[in-house]
C-alpha cells in the first residue's frame, strides 16, 4: 500500500537556524498538507498546497514558514529562523481530491523537530 514518507525522522537544530523538512506524498495525490503537534497538545493544521500554490493556511503559518514542491515527488516545509516554540512533531499528509466531499488525507510518520 502506498505511503507518505518523511525525512528526517528527527532533526535537532539551534535556535535561529533554518530547517527544511521533507516529505514524499503518495504518487497520484495532488493535494499536500503540513500539520504539527507540540508535545502533549493537539495536532494542528499549518497549510495546504495544490497546483504549486498555498490553498489554505492557519494563523500559525506565518512568514517564518514556507512550502515548496521543488520537483515531481518532494514536498518541503522550510522554517526560516527556528524558535524554541517550533519544537514539535511535523506531519505531512496528502490526498487525491482536496475539498471534495469524500477526500481523505493520508499522513506520514512525522519529523520530530527539536530546537535548542
Amino acid at each position: 500500500e502506498p505511503e507518505v514518507t518523511q525525512t528526517p525522522s528527527h532533526q535537532v537544530t539551534q535556535m535561529g537556524q533554518e530547517v527544511i523538512l521533507r516529505c514524499v506524498p503518495i504518487s497520484n495525490h495532488l493535494y499536500f498538507y503540513w500539520y504539527r503537534q507540540i508535545l502533549g497538545q493537539k495536532v494542528e493544521f499549518l497549510v495546504s498546497f495544490y497546483n504549486n500554490e498555498i490553498s489554505e493556511k492557519s494563523e500559525i503559518f506565518d512568514d517564518q514558514f514556507s512550502v515548496e514542491r521543488p520537483d515531481g515527488s518532494n514536498f518541503t516545509l522550510k522554517i526560516r529562523s527556528t524558535k524554541l516554540e517550533d519544537s514539535a512533531m511535523y506531519f505531512c499528509a496528502s490526498s487525491e481530491g482536496g475539498v471534495t466531499n469524500t477526500d481523505t488525507q493520508y499522513f506520514g510518520p512525522g519529523t520530530r523537530l527539536t530546537v535548542l
Binding site: 500539520y35 493544521f45 492557519s58 499522513f107
Partner: protein
C-alpha cells in the same frame, strides 16, 4: 470556532474488554468525521471515516463508529480489544469546503494482556 473534544485522555483495558472512546465536535454544519490511530513509532493511520449515509460506520481491525448528529458525537467502539490495539486514537473533523482537519487531543489506549 470549530473544535473537537476527546474526553478520555488515557484508557486502560484488559484484553477482551469492550471499548468506547468519545468524540464531540462543535461545528454546526455538515462535517466529515474521521478516526485515526497511531501505533507506537508509526504514522497516523485511517481507521474509519464518515461522509454521509448510514451513521454506523465500520472500519478496519473491527472498529466501528456511530455518528449522532443531535449530540454532535462520533464515538469509536470495538466489542473486544486486543493487546495489539494499544495505541493513540485521534478523532478529526473537516468542514466541507475547507482543507484542514481539526483534531482532538487524542486518547492513549493501553490494553493489558
Amino acid at each position: 470556532a470549530q473544535s473537537v473534544s476527546q474526553h478520555n485522555h488515557h484508557v486502560i483495558l484488559s484484553e477482551a474488554a469492550s471499548l468506547e472512546l468519545g468524540c464531540n465536535y462543535s461545528y454546526g454544519g455538515t462535517v466529515n468525521l474521521f478516526w485515526y490511530v497511531q501505533y507506537p513509532g508509526q504514522h497516523l493511520q485511517l481507521l474509519l471515516k464518515y461522509f454521509s449515509g448510514d451513521p454506523l460506520v465500520k472500519g478496519i481491525k473491527g472498529f466501528e463508529a456511530e455518528f449522532i448528529k443531535s449530540k454532535f458525537s462520533f464515538n469509536l467502539r470495538k466489542p473486544s480489544v486486543q493487546w495489539s490495539d494499544t495505541a493513540e486514537y485521534f478523532c478529526a473533523v473537516r468542514a466541507p469546503g475547507t482543507y484542514k482537519y481539526i483534531f482532538g487531543t487524542g486518547t492513549r489506549l493501553k490494553v493489558l494482556a
